[in-house]
């Protein structure tokens, strides 16, 4: 089933995902509502602003989607983000921004690979594996930084978080670029099909000759790499690496992915849904601010909107005869 999905034409896939994602209705509805009640919401600068604000969650959600599509879960990406960004920030003055960033990305990928080895080779439960790496890597971050924020980030590095290429913010271009690449890989390459197959029916995948272990190691490694990437963007946005950063990050990413219709049991869903999920979360946060909803109510409203989005999605799924 999933294998057939992957072979469908791009337009058909696009139309299907849009038709199937009740979440898109929620996003459009919210957008229309906010455009009516706020004169700021539907402006080019505010929409650009939203895309820039969601850039790190979009990167994290892309990686999280890969993991969830294989039937796994990864709650360690917030810690990986914090550790790899601390390593990168601490090296920037010594070896330059580019090399420091590369080291940060490699650290993230290596930590992700450890998760992948534990899940793929040892066959351990993904939630438990990543829960323990979440705690251990966060502790490593505190040990490495001694609890200090690292603020010795060169001014030039800001470009990654605040810079523009023409009218487009650089973090937006980077995150959308990553999204497009991973989207194409999922749709058109054997690796993409193997990810779906692994999550859809692991035994069948093994019998059809797919190296399921390698697929799992690969997706957790990529998730670690992407977490480090999101961490670098945050360093640029905050002028510093902060050891406590990202504790909510895995949950925002999981919320976006699941709201976008990617099944937690694996094998089903489109990355486009995850993008819509990310945008919905970002629009909620931006809209609550523009409407001046008090901080204490914001969390409540966020919870209710996520719930409604999932309910809409669920009912549409039921009416499709699932």
């Amino acid at each position: 089933m999933a294998l057939n999905d992957a072979n469908e034409g791009f337009m058909k896939t696009l139309i299907n995902s849009i038709k199937n994602a009740g979440i898109l209705l929620a996003l459009i509805g919210l957008g229309v509502f906010l455009s009516i009640v706020s004169d700021v919401f539907l402006t080019v600068s505010n929409i650009t602003n939203i895309f820039r604000q969601v850039s790190s969650n979009l990167i994290l959600s892309v990686g999280t989607a890969l993991v969830i599509l294989t039937g796994g879960i990864d709650v360690s990406i917030g810690s990986i983000m914090a550790f790899s960004s601390a390593v990168a920030a601490s090296l920037m003055m010594k070896v330059g921004c580019i090399l420091a960033s590369v080291v940060g990305l490699l650290v993230g990928a290596a930590l992700g690979a450890l998760n992948g080895i534990a899940v793929g080779l040892l066959g351990l439960e993904p939630f438990v594996v990543t829960l323990s790496s979440m705690a251990a890597v966060r502790a490593m971050t505190f040990i490495y930084t001694k609890g200090y924020p690292i603020s010795t980030v060169p001014e030039e590095y800001n470009v990654l978080g605040s810079g523009y290429l023409g009218p487009f913010p650089i973090p937006t271009l980077l995150s959308l670029g990553l999204f497009v690449v991973v989207f194409l890989v999922l749709r058109y390459t054997p690796f993409g099909r193997h990810i779906y197959a692994t999550g859809d029916n692991e035994i069948a995948a093994i019998h059809s000759g797919i190296n399921v272990k390698a697929v799992k190691i690969a997706v957790y490694t990529l998730n670690g790499l992407f977490a480090a990437f999101a961490g670098l963007i945050l360093v640029a946005r905050l002028n510093s690496a902060i050891p406590t950063i990202g504790s909510d990050a895995p949950f925002d990413a999981i919320a976006a992915v699941v709201m976008g219709g990617i099944s937690l049991s694996g094998g089903r869903g489109s990355l486009l849904g995850a993008l819509v999920g990310v945008l919905l979360l970002g629009t909620i946060n931006n809209g609550l601010n523009l409407l001046r909803i008090h901080a204490f109510w914001q969390g409540f409203v966020r919870g209710v909107v996520i719930f409604i989005a999932i309910v809409i999605d669920r009912f549409r799924a039921t009416s499709r005869g699932k």
């Binding site: 609890g147 002028n239 901080a295």
Partner: protein, 317 residues
């Protein structure tokens, strides 16, 4: 002709009316709204806004620097006239890039209590932590008559506020050759950690005359340790922050003194300075040169106050 002139005049009046009727809006990017200290800052801002007839938009970052950055961006989108920022992580520059962004969009930025870490911030209004530390040092030196043994409990390693408070304290203590600092250790702002660190230190240094803790929670922990060791009666304990628990402790005769900061006044003053900046009026601030990557900082420092058993009733409500 006459009609045209009247029309033009009417238009001008209408436009002026619109210009003046447009209320000034101040945006406040708060650190969190669940700590009494920051709630006091918020109240100061709101009271001042009410008095001067300006509008306040308040966004709360719930202690998350990434949310704070988004909130400042949303305040820029909301086209407020001034942005007040309380940066999240003391000692980092986590709101620096956001402040730069606001200034680039033509919106002046004022730091409230903590430094944003950008030289483009117009001014930062904060409590003079160094002065508070000095007050504590002078008090202890006076009560000890310039002779005795002191233990210092610090905030987390690397915390700027702790460094400033302890720095001011040590500056005074160094002037008294008869006063010896036995140990200066971090107890991470917590009562429980203050208790444990003090218990350990009492094993190593059984005769101590005074304790200076860089906040009240650690001081209250130290008091518990001293009580258990039956040494509280002979030891002076000085805290910092003047929390309600600390004031009660002073009233009971357990804690000797604490330092009062002025969060409400910080918030109130931030609004007044914001209005001055918008009207182009001058105000006094001092220039602080901090090492790279911070650079120049303009600051207005509200003096801290010493509270002892003599004046504690005034602050106990």
């Amino acid at each position: 002709m006459r009609f045209k002139v009247v029309l033009v005049l009417l238009l001008v009046v209408a436009m002026l009316g619109i210009t003046f009727a447009a209320k000034i809006t101040i945006g406040y990017a708060a650190r969190n709204l669940f700590n009494p200290y920051w709630i006091a800052v918020e109240k100061g801002i709101k009271d001042a806004a009410k008095k001067y007839g300006v509008d306040v938009i308040l966004y709360d970052a719930r202690n998350d620097p990434a949310t704070q950055r988004n909130n400042v961006e949303d305040l820029i989108q909301a086209k407020v006239d001034v942005i007040l920022i309380t940066s999240i992580v003391t000692g980092s520059r986590d709101s620096g890039a956001a402040a730069d962004e606001a200034v680039k969009a033509g919106i002046p930025v004022i730091g409230v209590d903590t430094s944003c870490g950008s030289p483009r911030v117009a001014v930062t209004i904060r409590t003079d932590n160094v002065l508070g530390g000095r007050l504590a040092g002078e008090y202890i030196a006076k009560v000890l008559n310039g002779k005795g043994k002191v233990i210092v409990l610090e905030g987390p390693a690397g915390d700027t506020n702790s460094a400033l408070r302890v720095g001011g304290f040590m500056e005074v203590i160094k002037k008294y050759p008869g006063i010896k600092v036995l140990a200066s250790q971090p107890a991470d702002w917590s009562r429980e950690k203050g208790l444990r660190v003090m218990e350990n230190l009492l094993q190593a240094f059984p005769d101590v005359d005074a304790v200076f803790a860089a906040n009240d929670e650690m001081a209250l922990g130290a008091i518990e340790a001293l009580k258990a060791a039956r040494k509280l009666k002979s030891t002076i304990v000085v805290g910092f922050d003047a929390t309600p628990d600390a004031l009660k402790s002073i009233k009971r005769g357990e804690m000797s003194a604490t330092i009062q900061q002025h969060p409400y006044e910080e918030g109130y003053m931030a609004v007044e300075i914001a209005l001055k900046i918008l009207k182009g009026e001058p105000f006094e601030s001092k220039v602080v040169m901090r090492p790279w990557p911070w650079g120049i900082e303009h600051a207005i420092e509200i003096p801290a106050t010493l509270i002892t058993s003599e004046n504690v009733d005034k602050y106990l409500k």
